[in-house]
C-alpha cells in the first residue's frame, strides 16, 4: 500500500477540509485581496473625500456598514477599516464557509448517502459532530486570521492608520469576527444535525446572515425598530467601534459565543435522536 495521506487521529476533520481545500484557499485569497484593497483605499484617499465633496456626514444607518453602534462614522479611518470587516462581501465569504462546512457536518452526508459508510464504524454521533465542528471552526478562524493579519499589516505600514487605530485593536476586531462566525455556526450546525438536505443548511446560513444584517441596518435607520437590534448578531459585532476606541467588548463576545454554544448544544442533542439514513 502507498503511504496514507489520511489523518488517523482526526479523519473526519481531514475529510471535511480535504474535500473543500480548493474552495477554502480561494476564499482565503479573496479575503486577503479584499482587505488589502480596503487598506490601500483607506491609506491613500482621506475617508472624508470618499463621501461627497461637500463633506456631508453619511446617514446614521451607514454605521451598520462601518461596524459601529456608537459614534464611529464610515467617513473615518477606523470606520473605513471597520467597513472592510462588515462589508457584505466579507460576510458572504464567512457565510460560504459556514454554510458549506455546516452542511458537510451531517446533512450533506445524509443526503448523499455517504453517512452509511461513516456511521457504521465505531464512531459516535458526538465524535462525528465534534470533528466536523472542529473543521468548521478551523476554517472560520483561518479566514478571520487572514483578514485580521492583512488589516494589521496595512495599519502597521501606514502612519495615518497607525495613528487612528489603537494598538491591538485590529486583533480584538479579529477575535470579534471569530465570535460572530461561531454565533452563526451553532444554529447552522443545529439545522445540519436535523436536516437531510444540504440546501436547508446553506439556506439557513444565508438567512441567519442576511436577515441579521438587514435587521441591524433597519434598527439603525428607523428609530421605531431600534429595539430589534438586540436580535441581530451584527449589533454585537462592531469592529468599527473596536478599531475606533480600543478595548475588548466582553459583553458582545459573551453574547455571540453564548448563542453559538446554545446552537451547538442543540445540534448535539438533535443528532443523538435522529435517523441517519433517508
Amino acid at each position: 500500500m502507498t503511504p496514507s495521506t489520511v489523518s488517523r487521529r482526526l479523519p473526519l476533520v481531514w475529510l471535511a477540509l480535504h474535500r473543500r481545500r480548493r474552495m477554502l484557499l480561494s476564499l482565503l485569497l479573496g479575503v486577503v485581496v479584499f482587505e488589502t484593497l480596503i487598506v490601500v483605499i483607506a491609506g491613500t484617499v482621506p475617508p472624508g473625500d470618499l463621501f461627497g465633496a461637500g463633506r456631508r456626514n453619511p446617514p446614521g444607518a451607514f454605521r451598520a456598514f462601518s461596524g459601529s453602534n456608537g459614534d464611529v462614522s464610515i467617513a473615518s479611518y477606523p470606520g473605513l477599516l471597520g467597513a472592510g470587516l462588515t462589508h457584505p462581501f466579507w460576510i458572504a465569504l464567512q457565510l460560504t464557509v459556514i454554510g458549506s462546512l455546516g452542511a458537510a457536518a451531517v446533512a450533506s452526508d445524509v443526503e448523499s448517502g455517504t453517512i452509511e459508510l461513516l456511521m457504521t464504524r465505531p464512531v459516535s454521533r458526538r465524535r462525528l459532530l465534534a470533528e466536523r465542528t472542529g473543521a468548521l471552526i478551523a476554517a472560520s478562524v483561518a479566514l478571520n486570521a487572514a483578514a485580521t493579519l492583512t488589516v494589521a499589516l496595512g495599519v502597521a505600514f501606514s502612519p495615518k492608520l497607525r495613528d487612528a487605530v489603537p494598538e491591538g485593536a485590529v486583533f480584538t476586531a479579529g477575535l470579534l469576527g471569530c465570535a460572530l462566525a461561531f454565533c452563526l455556526t451553532g444554529p447552522v450546525l443545529a439545522v445540519s444535525a436535523l436536516s437531510r438536505r444540504r440546501a436547508h443548511v446553506v439556506g439557513a446560513a444565508v438567512v441567519f446572515g442576511a436577515v441579521g444584517f438587514a435587521l441591524n441596518f433597519v434598527a439603525l435607520a428607523w428609530s421605531p425598530a431600534r429595539p430589534l437590534r438586540y436580535l441581530s448578531p451584527f449589533h454585537y459585532y462592531a469592529p468599527g467601534d473596536v478599531l475606533g476606541h480600543g478595548g475588548v467588548p466582553w459583553a458582545a463576545l459573551g453574547v455571540l459565543t453564548g448563542v453559538g454554544a446554545l446552537g451547538l448544544l442543540a445540534a448535539f442533542r438533535l443528532l443523538e435522536r435522529r435517523d441517519l439514513a433517508i
Binding site: 500500500m1 496514507s4 479523519p11 455517504t114 452509511e116 464512531v123 439514513a277
Partner: protein
C-alpha cells in the same frame, strides 16, 4: 473482536448472532417494515429476499444502527445497534445497497479513511484488492472516475478488510461482472468457513440460491416466510414436461388442466405440487400418447414467485406453516415446529 479470530465478537454467547423481534420501522404514516422476526445463528449465510421496496434495506439499516426501530427489538451479538453502537460497530462489516463514496478521494484514500474510522488493523486489504482485481493504479484514481462495478469492489473490500465476525451486505453483487461475482462467492464461502455470519439482501434469486443456507422472504415490509433454500425448492411445485407422440399440439388435459399447462407445439409444461407428481404422471401416461417425460425440481425463483403471488391472507402454498425465522441451534437449516408466538406470514 475483528481480526482476532473470535467469530462471536463482543458477546461470546451461544445465542443467535442476529435477532430481530417484532421489528417495526415507520416513516411518519408509512410502514417500512412491520413486526419482523428473524434469527440468524453464528456461521450462517442468511438471505433477505424481496423485490425493491419490500423493506430489505430498512431492515439492514436497523441492524447496523443507522435507523432506530419504531417498535420491537434488534440485537446483534447480543447488543443494541443504536445504544451500543461503539461496542458493536467494530464487529460489523457493512456494504450499503446504494454505495455512495466521496468522488474526490482516491480508492486508496477511501479505504484508508474507512480503516482509520474503524480504528482496527486491516490485514486483508491488499489480498482483497488483488482478488477483486483492484490494481494499485485503480486505487490511485479518484473514485469519481470509477465504474459502478469498481465502486462495488471497493465497497466489498471496505466491508471485509477488518475481518468482522458479522458481515451485512445489501445487494452485494450489483454491478459485478461474472468473473468477479465468482470471486465474491468464494469470499462468502471462506467467511462462512471461518465461522463468520453473513446476512445479505438480494433480489437476484440464483445468487441467493447459491450462497444462502436460509432465506427470509419479505413482502410489503412483512415477513412471508423463513425457510432453508433447500426446503423452499423441495416444497415447491415440480416442473413436469411432456412431449406427445402424435404431433397434434394443444389438447384438453382433463384434471391436469389445474396445473397451468403451457403449450409449445406438441410439448406441454405443468407445475405439479410435489405430493401429486406420482399420481399425475401415472394418469398422464395412461391417458395420453406421451413420447417423452421429464420431472424437474423447481428453482428458488418459482418458490419465490409462488409466495409472492399468494394473497396477503393466505399461507404459503407448500402445505407447511411458516416458521418464525429461528435457526436450529447448530446454525443448520431449520426443521423446527412453529412456535406459539410465531410471527406468521401474511
Amino acid at each position: 473482536m475483528p481480526g482476532n479470530g473470535d467469530p462471536h465478537g463482543p458477546e461470546n454467547g451461544t445465542g443467535p448472532v442476529i435477532e430481530l423481534r417484532s421489528l417495526t420501522k415507520r416513516y411518519g404514516g408509512t410502514v417500512g417494515i412491520e413486526r419482523l422476526d428473524v434469527s440468524v445463528a453464528a456461521g450462517e449465510v442468511f438471505g433477505l429476499l424481496g423485490p425493491n421496496g419490500a423493506g430489505k434495506t430498512t431492515t439492514l439499516r436497523c441492524l447496523v444502527g443507522l435507523l432506530s426501530p419504531s417498535d420491537g427489538q434488534v440485537r446483534v451479538l447480543g447488543l443494541d445497534p443504536v445504544a451500543d453502537h461503539r461496542r458493536l460497530a467494530p464487529s460489523i462489516g457493512y456494504l450499503p445497497g446504494e454505495l455512495r463514496l466521496y468522488p474526490e478521494l482516491t480508492g486508496q484514500q477511501t479505504l484508508d479513511l474507512l480503516a482509520a474510522l474503524q480504528g482496527a488493523p486491516v490485514p486483508r486489504q491488499r489480498e482483497l484488492c488483488d482478488r477483486l482485481t483492484l490494481s494499485r493504479a485503480d486505487l490511485a484514481r479518484p473514485v469519481g472516475e470509477y465504474s459502478r462495478g469498481m465502486k462495488q469492489k471497493l465497497g466489498l473490500v471496505q466491508s471485509l478488510q477488518h475481518q468482522p465476525p458479522v458481515v451485512v451486505l445489501d445487494e452485494p453483487s450489483e454491478g459485478l461482472d461474472p468473473l468477479v461475482q465468482e470471486t465474491f462467492y468464494e469470499l462468502l464461502a471462506e467467511e462462512t468457513a471461518a465461522g463468520r455470519t453473513v446476512l445479505l439482501s438480494s433480489h437476484v434469486l440464483p445468487e441467493v440460491q447459491r450462497t444462502c443456507g436460509r432465506v427470509a422472504i419479505v413482502r410489503h415490509g412483512r415477513l412471508v416466510t423463513v425457510r432453508s433454500v433447500a426446503e423452499l425448492r423441495q416444497a415447491r411445485a415440480r416442473r413436469v414436461r411432456l412431449l406427445f407422440a402424435d404431433g397434434r399440439g394443444a389438447r384438453p388435459l382433463g384434471a391436469a388442466e389445474r396445473w397451468s399447462p403451457r403449450w409449445d407445439g406438441s410439448r406441454v409444461e405443468l407445475l405439479v405440487p410435489p405430493d401429486e407428481v406420482v399420481p399425475a404422471v401415472r394418469t398422464l401416461l395412461a391417458e395420453l400418447p406421451v413420447a417423452d417425460l421429464t420431472v424437474e425440481e423447481a428453482g428458488l425463483d418459482e418458490a419465490f414467485l409462488d409466495l409472492y403471488r399468494a394473497n396477503d391472507d393466505q399461507l404459503p402454498t407448500d402445505g407447511q406453516p411458516p416458521t418464525d425465522g429461528r435457526p436450529s441451534t447448530d446454525g443448520r437449516p431449520p426443521t423446527e415446529e412453529p412456535r406459539p408466538d410465531t410471527e406468521e406470514g401474511p
